[in-house]
């Protein structure tokens, strides 16, 4: 894991310590990533894995990580993320588990 990510995890753990007693917030998980429409084209694949994701994180972190891992820079800001079939909003804190499904969804405009 990159040092910067480690740091972020620790910050999250500190923040959560009081309300999450006994929980291992520092655990990193792997997400199953599904790419749709134009995201699939840019990534060159319909499916992938994002490893080393902090179990407690925020949506902006997820956005940064998928953008980097799947070369989505060209459409940054123009797609949404859904975690286990639920839209997640930039700025939101989320809790993820190993094997959770993260969908990358840009709008499709053809018809």
């Amino acid at each position: 894991m990159a040092p910067q990510q480690q740091q972020e995890v620790e910050v999250v753990v500190q923040q959560q310590q009081q309300q999450q007693q006994g929980e291992r917030g520092a655990a990193a998980v792997s997400l199953r990533v599904l790419l749709f429409a134009g995201a699939r084209e840019l990534a060159g694949t319909a499916e992938g894995v994002l490893t080393g994701v902090p179990a407690r994180t925020d949506v902006d972190h997820l956005l940064r990580r998928v953008t980097e891992a799947f070369s989505l820079g060209a459409m940054s800001g123009a797609f949404i993320l859904a975690l286990n079939h639920d839209y997640v909003m930039p700025g939101d804190q989320v809790r993820v588990r190993d094997g959770d499904e993260l969908a990358v969804i840009p709008p499709l405009s053809g018809g």
């Binding site: 749709f36 859904a82 405009s109």
Partner: protein, 444 residues
């Protein structure tokens, strides 16, 4: 021209003229019937003998009943786009007995539409899509009122048209018109049933329904134009928009019937490849949305082509990235490459397109491969074996319509800078070639 082909040509023209006459007679008859109808109708929504016989199979569904059928008869639905989505949507809405259907499209029927836009028959190639679709729908049910809006929807006319209908179906093929329709529906307070399809994928959702989110709540920022693929470039399997268009009709009917299970605040993702439907729960309406939020910035329609940086059609307009001396006409290419065997031709279309049709002895190197070092190495090897010590050895680059070929020339000029070659593109691409040189070459 032989005698036979002359008489075939003549007869085809006669038949086309008769069709035109038939169309105008039918139009006359419709106007007469409408006048007659407005005198005798007691109540628009009362079901006739024809209605009951025709719709009995759906009236006997308890949740529809006579009341539901009457609601449908009194309802109006606007379908924007009479293409791959609009055709199936219009077909099922007409079949179900929606009383008034509006069709909007600026385009004409093209041969490349026929595999998926099944309201249009091959006799109607070149006819406006709206009148072609209206004609087919009237054959399904002549009691349905069909309004024809043969025009390009834009900021000057959208509100006026949208306001005449209860529900709007977005069956368009481009980003700019999608934002335009969204804003027009928010401003007019109409639910928008939005569908889209490309290749083997489809998306469906209902915007602006019962305080649900709008398109801008979910996608406030339009996608950069270079990341948007249309059906003309990416392809589409006809049955895929078929699935989505039929679902759009279903959602419109549910809205008309006032049902609760409408796909609002949810996005349905369809994969034709896996035969899966994924239902994504969307966010609620965004209170700071530019158009439907608490303090909207957009209170009247804006310039959507400017907002999206893209045209409100699925047709790519001509780029102009090169100087005139970097471009050759079909005639020049023919004289030089075909007649005198000068230079090489690089075709930068995808291999699927190249396999459909290509110039003899052209080399297929898809545009996206031009970045790769191995590709450039391969081109240099070909040049080494061909050009000997020639100065300004011609490297002709072509594509379908002459846009990608310009992008390719710019790339090749960089990577072949030291090769003593003259890189040019075929202006207007293979479309221009087919028109000027070889009429047997497919225009797709």
């Amino acid at each position: 021209m032989s005698l036979e082909s002359k008489s075939i040509f003549q007869m085809e023209k006669e038949i086309a003229d008769l069709r035109e006459l038939l169309r105008s007679k039918e139009q006359e008859l419709r106007v007469l019937k409408e006048c007659e109808g407005s005198k005798t109708h007691l109540s628009v929504e009362k079901l006739s003998k024809d209605d009951i016989e025709r719709f009995s199979r759906q009236i006997i569904i308890p949740s529809i009943g006579v009341k539901g059928q009457q609601l449908m008869k009194g309802a109006s639905v606007l379908i924007v786009g009479a293409g791959g989505l609009g055709c199936p949507a219009a077909q099922y809405l007409t079949g179900s007995g929606i009383g008034h259907i509006g069709l909007v499209d600026y385009d004409e029927v093209d041969r490349s539409n026929l595999h998926r836009q099944l309201l249009h028959s091959q006799e109607n190639i070149g006819v406006s899509k709206v009148s072609s679709a209206a004609e087919a729908l009237r054959r399904l049910n002549s009691n349905v009122r069909i309004s024809e809006h043969s025009l390009q929807l834009d900021s000057s006319n959208a509100l006026n048209i949208v306001q005449q209908y209860d529900v709007v179906i977005d069956a368009t093929d481009n980003v700019a018109t999608r934002y335009l329709l969204n804003d027009a529906c928010v401003i007019s307070g109409k639910p928008l049933v939005s569908g889209s399809a490309l290749r083997l994928e489809g998306q469906l959702t209902v915007y602006n329904h019962h305080q649900g989110p709008c398109y801008r709540c979910i996608f406030p920022k339009p996608p950069p134009p270079e990341t948007v693929t249309n059906c003309g470039d990416g392809g589409v399997l006809g049955a895929v928009p078929g699935v989505i268009g039929v679902l759009q009709a279903l959602e419109a009917i549910k809205i008309v019937l006032g049902w609760t299970g409408v796909l609002s605040g949810q996005l349905l993702l369809f994969s034709g490849e896996q035969s899966t439907f994924r239902n994504i729960r969307l966010r609620a309406k965004n209170p700071s949305c530019d158009v439907c939020g608490d303090h909207p910035l957009i209170t009247k329609l804006i310039d959507y082509e400017q907002f999206c940086g893209a045209k409100a059609t699925d047709k790519e307009s001509g780029l102009s990235l090169l100087k005139q001396e970097q471009r050759v006409s079909p005639e020049t290419l023919h004289r030089s490459f075909i007649c005198k065997n000068e230079g090489i031709v690089i075709d930068v279309r995808d291999s699927e397109e190249f396999n459909m049709c290509a110039l003899p002895n052209s080399i297929n190197i898809p545009l996206k491969k031009l970045e790769e070092v191995t590709t450039i190495q391969k081109i240099k090897e070909i040049l080494d074996s061909r050009k000997k010590n020639e100065e300004n050895f011609p490297v002709y680059v072509l594509c379908r319509r002459g846009n990608d070929s310009q992008r390719a020339v710019l790339k090749l000029e960089q990577s072949l800078g030291n090769e003593n070659v003259a890189v040019c593109d075929l202006e207007g691409g293979l479309h221009a070639w087919a028109r000027a040189i070889d009429s047997s070459f497919p225009i797709y």
